[in-house]
Symmetry: C2
Subunit: 207 residues, 2 copies
């Protein structure tokens, strides 16, 4: 509400940048990517269109930064979840699974995934910044479990795919297509069941 005018110091400028991204994310959630105009974003952020174009290049550039910002947040969330449980892999994986479902079915993720479908460039960013980065974290964790003899999964990448499938099933694509998102209770139950099945499938063979 404070009309900011004149040049901004670096710190303030960084905050304004986040304000703009936040405004864009809200509008994508409310109206969808296609129906959100640069004018709407500028209006909600209390900025001018010219500033948007000066800072982000164009609508795609702005959206790209939005995706990267979200990917940063989710990567930290994954790392944090895997640190839970005090070394108990089931607890850590369950925390990760729950977080994954919460993230993927959350409005911001849904809006950005839909947006990415409309632009190959954005899709690439989302895939690399989001999925692949988180995948590496989890694969690395599963690889360590394997080497520690906790599970029998020589191919950590494949094990990650298996876990992912058990957790997510068709939930994400369903929500992207308009199905209601699962409740917190549902997510927790799914996470537990998925990890239990995962452990059963990759149980370490007695040597």
């Amino acid at each position: 509400m404070t009309p900011r005018r004149g040049r901004l110091p670096a710190a303030e400028r960084e905050r304004r940048r986040r304000d703009i991204l936040r405004a864009a994310r809200e509008l994508y959630v409310e109206h969808g990517y296609g129906a959100t105009t640069m004018a709407m974003i500028a209006r909600r952020a209390g900025a001018s269109k010219e500033t948007l174009y000066a800072w982000f290049g164009d609508k795609e550039g702005l959206t790209r930064e939005l995706i990267e910002w979200g990917a940063d947040e989710s990567a930290s969330a994954v790392a944090a979840a895997l640190d839970q449980g005090d070394g108990d892999p089931v607890a850590a994986l369950t925390a990760y699974a729950d977080g994954l479902l919460t993230l993927l079915t959350g409005p911001p993720s849904v809006a950005l995934n839909r947006a990415a479908m409309a632009s190959p460039a954005l899709a690439r960013v989302l895939r690399e910044a989001g999925r692949q980065r988180a995948g590496r974290l989890v694969s690395g964790y599963l690889g360590r479990l394997h080497r520690a003899g906790v599970i029998d999964a020589p191919d950590a990448e494949a094990a990650f795919g298996l876990l992912y499938g058990l957790v997510v099933q068709d939930t994400q694509i369903g929500v992207l297509l308009g199905a209601p998102a699962p409740s917190a209770r549902d997510r927790a139950a799914r996470a537990r069941a998925a990890v239990e099945r995962f452990m059963r499938l990759v149980a370490a063979r007695p040597s």
Copy 2:
């Protein structure tokens, strides 16, 4: 190439309708939904824009019919796959799994799923005509396996979700976001592994 003019008899009219839908599908695959204009569709189908609007209402209506057409095809494919194997459930489910992967990662399905992301109405059609319909077929099949004592899966819906997750994992969303589609060999291997794991997880308990 034959310039069709004058009123069309019913049979011919039906063929022209398919021609138009086929043209639209090709263009969606080549350029994406958003970048495909009604003029392009009319041009490729050798029809006039006015005819498109007269027959389909608007772009969304045309796309809706396209989705329903594809759903019809895929429902028959599912039914056919489940009939394979001469009563061997593993063979039938493997055929289904392979077909599912082939369908979901195929260019037409990818193009239509991306299109549906841009419109809640289209998303609803795709979800109901496609996913739910196929889901009912498979759930019904799994329910029969359960009642026959072949598997232990009292909740057929949940069992379908599990099978789906084991088969598809993150492949569909990945392809939608631009990852390369899996090869036929990869699909077959995935289908076999998924069904093998599925059977292990829902193995009938010895009573």
